[in-house]
Amino acid sequence: MKQTFSRPKTPAWLLAAAIACCPLLFAEAPAGSPAIPRAADGKPDLSGIWQVLNPANWDIQDHQAQPGVPAGQGIVEGNEIPYQPWALAKKKENYEKREQLDTVTAKCYLPGVPRINYLGLPFQIFQDSKVITVLYEYAHANRDIYLSNAEHPKGHIDWWMGDSRGHWEGDTLVADVIDFNDQTWFDHAGNFHSDQLHVVEKYTLADHDHMNYQVTIEDPKVFTRPWNMNVVLYRRTEKNVQLLEYECYAFPLEKYYP
């Protein structure tokens, strides 16, 4: 026997109201903004060349301008870094001597994580389902965020750029980074850490050309509690844009070669 189904009738006025009021229901990026690109495995595709626009590399907290240093609104949530009392004194000492002690500006050493990402030079993300490879213009730095092998190796290892293990939580790439030495600073202003630094990074595409980069810092030797930083990464969209080089430790030596 043929069955007939009676469909519930949605009033046209209700449909119109829903469409007018709630564009987010339809899960599209705001009008005028290209949709989030997706990789073959369905994850957001973070591939591309990215760069910050803020001067956090100079000082991750609110600061005014100095010669060569633009003023900046801080990237630290709450603008306060919860140092232990001894560490706050050390930070102030670092600040006084920053021109000699900041190994990035003084020696062109690797800047660690997360500073490499807001250093102000571009970097290129290459993504597949096993590993996210990031190549940086600064001093040919590179990081591999391993997805297929989630275990950190047996530590402790004193690396400049740490060991990164990642996984997806919905559309956010979460990277867990440990195995740091204590030689890097978070910025030029002397904000520092110990070798117990533990960084959790979260990369979320806001739309095709903007990525929200949130970092949680934990270091029980230096801070009284974890704290966060938030940064926007901007996609470089110029035609034929590519990474170049910033081999800063070569600058005083170039004239002797070839």
Binding site: A40, S47, C108, Y109, L110, Q124, F126, Q127, D128, T133, L135, A139, H140, N142, D144, Y146, N149, P153, W159, W160, M161, Q183, N240, Q242, L243, L244, E245, E247, Y249, A250, L253, E254, Y256, Y257, P258
Partner: protein, 336 residues
């Protein structure tokens, strides 16, 4: 990192015999030859004869600089299944050749007498060593065809590297400067990654990288010179062809002072022969330094085939401590 057993002469990871397909014909890696030899005859005598013949035909590997230590040679050789060929294709059509590759003889001490390890010290101490075949296949004499002034410069550098009293005598590699495309190819393992529209090189020695777009975009303008040059690539069948311009050439080409200028134009050809072998040839063109273009070449083979292998951090510049000391010592010794 998971420890893996490496075939000492071929650089490939062993796979336990249990992983092989049942009924697979055993194969023997004959040192010095490309590819395995498949003795299909049952007799042990005939297999031994085949091995001895192959050894005499394929060259005196054991006489070369970088032969394995005796205890490694005694390790039982397990069987490795070759990768399938023709290659798998990536979604963008590239043959999948990603992974780690080693040259037949690594090391950048010299191009005309390639040798790995502390050969400079050997030479200083007067310890004789066998000459390896030049990596230069054209011209036929295996020498770099320098213009006269350039040959004098190379000899001047080579004469002073053992007691460097000037900065220019310090090898740029000792300063952890990026090696340039040619030198990086021969120093340590070549790590190749592939992404849609790109081939990436992330060399194991000091990790300089090269990003090679395959989309035919225009070259950079002439006034940008880069340590690793600027690369534009395309595939011709199973050969990756890379045009490299914008070389600053500051890393030189070897310890013994071989060099090019910032006019250097390189055309590389990476021909992938099967799942585990590759032939590399690079045409070097620099009319400011050479009388004619010349070609450097080597066979390469896969290495680090364990899929859990990871290339870990190498912070060369951060760890470098000795170069200024060697300058001071040489200057003090010369002043006496």
């Amino acid at each position: 990192m998971k420890k893996q057993r490496i075939d000492p002469l071929w650089g490939q990871a062993f796979r336990p015999a249990a992983e092989l397909q049942p009924g697979a014909t055993p194969q023997f890696f004959i040192p010095g030859c490309a590819g395995p030899v498949w003795p299909r005859w049952g007799s042990r005598v005939i297999r031994l004869a085949a091995i001895l013949t192959a050894l005499s035909v394929c060259g005196p590997v054991f006489a070369q600089e970088d032969q394995p230590q005796p205890n490694q040679r005694q390790r039982r050789r397990e069987q490795v299944t070759p990768a399938p060929w023709p290659p798998l294709r990536l979604p963008d059509g590239q043959p999948d050749i990603s992974g780690y590759w080693d040259p037949a003889i690594g090391g950048t001490y010299s191009l005309t007498n390639p040798s790995r390890g502390g050969v400079g010290l050997q030479d200083q101490l007067g310890i004789p060593r066998k000459k390896n075949p030049s990596r230069i296949i054209d011209p036929a004499d295996g020498e770099i065809p320098y213009l006269p002034w350039a040959r004098e410069k190379q000899k001047y550098i080579a004469a002073n590297i053992n007691e460097p009293v000037k900065e220019e005598f310090i090898d740029p590699q000792a300063r952890c400067l990026p090696d340039g495309p040619i030198r990086a190819t021969f120093w340590h393992t070549v790590h190749i990654l592939q992404y849609p529209g790109y081939v990436i090189f992330n060399y194991e020695g000091n990790h300089p990288h090269r990003i090679v777009p395959l989309d035919g975009r225009p070259a950079l303008g002439d006034s940008i010179k880069l340590w690793m040059g600027d690369s534009r690539g395309h595939w011709e069948g199973n050969t990756l062809v890379i045009d490299v311009r914008n070389n600053n050439s500051k890393s030189r080409l070897s310890n013994v002072g071989d060099f090019a200028s910032e006019n250097l134009h390189i055309v590389e050809r990476y021909t992938f022969l099967d799942g585990k072998s590759m032939r590399y040839e690079a045409r070097m063109d620099d009319p400011a330094v050479y009388t004619r273009p010349w070609t450097i070449a080597s066979d390469f083979h896969r290495t680090h085939t364990d899929p859990t292998y990871e290339q870990w951090e190498e912070a060369c510049h951060e760890g470098e401590r000795n170069v200024d000391d060697s300058l001071d010592l040489s200057r003090a010794a010369t002043a006496k």
